[in-house]
């Protein structure tokens, strides 16, 4: 669905953010895009959607070149940015004006998502709503558009605790096999049990892009008692719950992926991970 081949990009020509970056993202997955602050997550999402143009290389978003901003491509993409913008309209007015741009927009789905998110009355002006409420409206609208590509940049920022679990449930429920969802976030715990493919950005490039199944096939995640010593662990960290450790999964034991521990383990052992995943 998304094919990125050897792209280079930087906000200043002397200081390139991406050099020769390549990445493929397929449909039927919820992709998590992770990386430290300033790694270029938002920039990569903007390149995929056509808001920015690469210097070199090419990007194909379901066959279209995003920089051309073809309306047939745009009607199949919804970009939910971190800093949302909503015009001075009522919720009803917003839907009335913007829904016709998306041929597969489902009005009933928007209504049911609005109810689930406890969005206030439709006649209320968008400007009078809180940041969290605005975000909920944008999330509900983005899911109701039924676009093939849904890009969410830090979608859980500004959501309260119940809304975060609602968000996970709603995204998982409205997921379809022909759809590709890319979620970029710092708050990896918010995406727990939601994403099934992880891409990690670091120092101008992709250092990991694998499915959750593939990761748990190669890595074993274990919680040890504080008295235990994590022998042969690739990475371990102590917390109040005990010691979280990551091992090489030599015996193909099933374990549950802890994204945060995996992320920290990856940054502590980049070379080892590279070797492990290239086998």
């Amino acid at each position: 669905m998304i094919d990125i081949q050897n792209i280079s990009f930087g906000y200043r020509t002397q200081n390139e953010l991406f050099q020769d970056l390549s990445l493929q993202l397929g449909a039927g997955h919820i992709h998590g895009l992770l990386g430290k602050n300033g790694a270029g997550k938002t920039t990569l999402l903007k390149l995929i959607s056509g808001a920015l143009f690469p210097y070199h290389g090419f990007i194909s978003t379901f066959g279209y070149t995003p920089s051309k901003r073809n309306p047939l491509m745009l009607q199949d993409i919804y970009f939910l940015p971190e800093e949302i913008y909503l015009p001075d309209l009522t919720i009803q007015g917003f839907v009335k004006v913007y829904a016709p741009f998306y041929p597969r927009f489902d009005y009933q789905e928007f209504d049911s998502l609005s109810q689930e998110f406890e969005i206030p009355l439709k006649t209320q002006k968008l400007h009078t709503l809180s940041h969290g409420q605005k975000k909920k409206i944008q999330i509900a609208f983005s899911l109701a558009t039924n676009t093939r590509l849904l890009i969410m940049d830090e979608p859980t920022n500004g959501l309260d605790i119940p809304a975060k679990s609602q968000f996970r449930r709603i995204v998982a429920n409205s997921f379809q096999e022909d759809r590709c969802v890319i979620i970029s976030t710092h708050q990896v715990r918010d995406l727990h049990s939601l994403i099934d493919h992880i891409t990690v950005l670091d120092e101008h490039n992709i250092i990991m892009s694998h499915g959750v199944d593939e990761i748990t096939k190669r890595l074993l995640f274990k919680w040890l008692d504080v008295t235990e010593t994590p022998k042969n662990a690739l990475y371990s960290e102590e917390s109040l719950k005990g010691i979280a450790a990551v091992f090489e999964n030599t015996q193909q034991i099933d374990s549950k992926l802890d994204i945060e521990i995996m992320f920290n383990a990856l940054f502590a052992n980049k070379e080892k991970f590279k070797e492990l995943f290239s086998k």
């Binding site: 808001a51 073809n70 309306p71 745009l74 940015p81 949302i84 913008y85 001075d88 009335k96």
Partner: protein, 254 residues
């Protein structure tokens, strides 16, 4: 062709524009209507004042409106929102071009006639405040004057439309300053060229005043052709500004 230009999407974009700007535009239109109806009568001006007032509003209002039409693309949040609206670059450019180039002056003109007509009805009722003479609307703006007004607006619009893409903040002021800067630079260059190549400027001006130079031109091309050349140059300048505007818009990144 559907992916480049579709009237359905233009219609949707127009609905979006009206929904988001209706309140502001209605307030502006009401203010304009009452200005045309009562201001000339309040200051007790002659018929010529009506035409001057319309020109001022079309030029100043139109330039400011045009320079700010694309302001949303310069802010990261609204820019991202606008770029991702499923319509082609040409459709967005065309719609905003038509709104500023056609809709604005036409609405001003309609409000001018409607306001003046309304003034004719109301002013006699309160003669202590207003000049209550009935204004002959048909004679206020002769076709020739109207054509001149709009042809001048066309050039001004093209300049400020380009300014709306180039300047992220204060586009009106910055476009005016840049325009004056260019005019000043051209004048300086002309002066330097004059000094360098036509050192004896008096001789040149004498030869022009004696009609030698124009006499020579007149022999080569008649005045009708000069008019056509003038139109052609006018068209080229307009096309140049629109083309550069479109290229700036096409390359816009957020």
């Amino acid at each position: 062709m559907n992916h480049i230009f579709s009237f359905h999407r233009i219609k949707q974009l127009s609905i979006r524009y009206l929904a988001e700007h209706a309140r502001r535009d209605l307030i502006f239109m009401c203010a304009l209507f009452f200005t045309f109806a009562f201001l000339p009568r309040l200051v007790g001006s002659s018929d010529a004042f009506y035409a001057i007032l319309l020109s001022i509003i079309v030029y100043i209002g139109g330039m400011r409106f045009t320079a700010r039409i694309f302001h949303e693309i310069h802010r990261p949040t609204s820019g991202m929102h606008f770029l991702h609206i499923p319509a082609s670059r040409l459709e967005k450019f065309t719609l905003y071009g038509v709104i500023t180039l056609v809709c604005f002056p036409v609405i001003c003109l309609l409000l001018f006639y409607a306001g003046t007509f309304f003034g004719n009805l109301i002013a006699p009722l309160i003669p202590s405040f207003f000049n209550y003479e009935v204004i002959d609307i048909s004679s206020l703006l002769p076709w020739e004057q109207l054509g001149k007004l709009f042809s001048q607006y066309l050039i001004g619009h093209a300049v400020f439309f380009l300014g709306s893409f180039i300047f992220k903040t204060h586009p009106t002021t910055k476009t005016i300053v840049t325009f004056l800067g260019f005019a000043f630079a051209i004048a300086i260059i002309q002066m330097i060229i004059g000094r360098l190549f036509f050192a004896d400027l008096d001789v040149v001006s004498i030869s022009i005043s004696s009609g030698k130079l124009f006499g020579l031109l007149d022999n080569l091309i008649n005045s009708r052709i000069l008019v056509y050349i003038n139109y052609l140059l006018y068209g080229i300048v307009l096309l140049f500004f629109w083309l550069v505007s479109y290229l700036k818009w096409k390359e816009k990144q957020i």
